[in-house]
Symmetry: C2
Subunit: 305 residues, 2 copies
């Protein structure tokens, strides 16, 4: 007999997943749901891959600032660019989401969508994680890859709903997670259609289009998907509202990954700069959300090299 979800230890979390899938996918079950309605949404950072010491796209942005600094001499005296160039993580953390957006807009715009895609792919191919010394795309969670496959085998359609950039995630989602670009929802900047000598292109503009985080997640799901998913997987308070919205129906499944494994990955929650989990931990029990302990529930974290 094939073992389901082999990287998951037997326990409450694994059993809850399997029970839910049987409940909605088994013909004759009173809670049977048609395949077209079996939509599962996953946060990306901290849920499908790691997000420490900082969101990987943030690390990409910092690298871009360093590369582009020679064309922007003014950055060495201007925050938050100065903080990046001086590796001043304290000032950067204090600049918060607004500072990060400023960096994203400055480094992710002024090029076509194709040029941006190549830049990201080049970075992913060469950059290495500071702790694990592996490509970032190696730092996906093996138990979650198995979960994605298990859900798809039961006719679920899997979507990513990321606070990160939609075009960033799309560069690797199909290869790494088996999730095609049209099943990615994320934050975006404005693009503009332009006809050039080489043909029509889409140019990325230095203007925020949509922030797919917190209240933005249910909004983004409704905008892109047009119906309410039946299962939702997250790890931080940025996922709280989508967990709340998705699990308001029944039968529904909500799950939060708790990063409590300092040895194999990282341990963080209530006070973290990336992936802060506070309200979600408090409210999960009363809302019926499953909390996964990476330490106890997973017998393996990353795929083997």
């Amino acid at each position: 007999m094939i073992q389901l979800l082999p990287s998951w230890n037997d326990g409450v979390a694994k059993q809850a997943i399997i029970d839910f899938v049987k409940r909605v996918a088994k013909i004759g079950s009173p809670d049977f749901i048609m395949p077209a309605e079996r939509i599962a949404v996953f946060d990306n950072d901290g849920t499908l891959w790691a997000e420490q010491p900082f969101y990987f796209q943030g690390l990409f942005v910092f690298d871009r600032v360093r590369v582009l600094a020679s064309q922007h001499p003014e950055w060495k005296d201007k925050q938050p660019f100065k903080a990046v160039l001086e590796n001043d993580m304290k000032t950067l953390a204090a600049a918060g989401m607004q500072g990060l957006i400023e960096l994203v807009v400055a480094t992710h715009a002024g090029m076509t969508t194709e040029e941006f895609k190549r830049t990201v792919k080049d970075w992913l191919a060469t950059a290495r994680h500071p702790k694990f010394n592996r490509p970032y795309t190696d730092l996906v969670f093996q138990p979650m890859l198995e979960l994605l496959a298990y859900l798809r085998a039961n006719d679920f359609k899997t979507f990513i709903v990321s606070g990160g950039g939609i075009e960033f995630v799309r560069t690797f989602s199909e290869e790494v997670y088996g999730i095609p670009p049209e099943q990615i929802i994320g934050s975006s900047i404005v693009t503009r259609f332009e006809v050039r000598d080489v043909g029509p292109v889409l140019v990325r503009e230095p203007k925020v289009d949509f922030i797919d985080d917190q209240e933005g997640k249910p909004v983004g799901i409704n905008k892109f998907l047009g119906r309410r998913p039946i299962a939702v997987f997250g790890n931080s308070d940025g996922d709280f509202q989508m967990l709340e919205w998705v699990t308001a129906g029944t039968p529904r499944f909500g799950l939060i990954i708790h990063h409590d494994d300092a040895v194999r990955e990282f341990a963080y929650d209530r006070a973290s700069a990336a992936g802060k989990l506070d309200r979600g931990l408090d409210e999960a029990p009363k809302r019926g959300w499953t909390v996964v302990s990476m330490k106890k529930d997973w017998n393996r974290v990353f795929p083997s090299k």
Copy 2:
């Protein structure tokens, strides 16, 4: 032998469709394209269903203005509402897209997404087309239903890219076209997440989010789909830029439906208020786009009752 596309007469247009599908879907063809990349996009108004005497969503908006007028006594002296209440189509036409957007925002906002969906469904169930005296959802083009099915049978994924409202089209697309809500791209207004006593809801705000028309269509496709389709079907100059963008690659297929059948449907093109086709007709030959004559290429227009 099963006849392909039975409502299409033999001729250049039908042959061009079949040739393209064989070219990209037949294993061993030098232009073979993997199923995941076989994305086809369709305009809705005038391409999948009729759009005269005016866009059907426009007719829905006018009906909503009439219903809501008692709550808005100021509308009887205020344009473009006044023109709707007085059936003054000339003033309405002169108010153009800006006037229409004003009407849409006034009638489509201030309710939850669920309430809006019910309103549309109720209207579609009861309203009748002035010429054909049939429900609007009966006025889909039988040859296009066959084309959608033929493409899907060849592992294409079919999307709608509509200038109309994304939430409007989603209320009937799955039932009528077999296209699920997550494969609809369209114009939208802003929605806001709110937690009420009954649970979390999304509230439609009186603010335009995105206009999915002309230059907006390639932008919308890139935003929602994240990759360039290989086939594109439209009927008006509102589809010009998406035709241009999609067919810039190779192998690619572009097709324009020309409404030249006053007897069975409507005849209109260069000077029409809805579905104006001018530049597309001029440039189709040099761009290699197939032009369909409804009169000559289709032996049937609507499904039988």
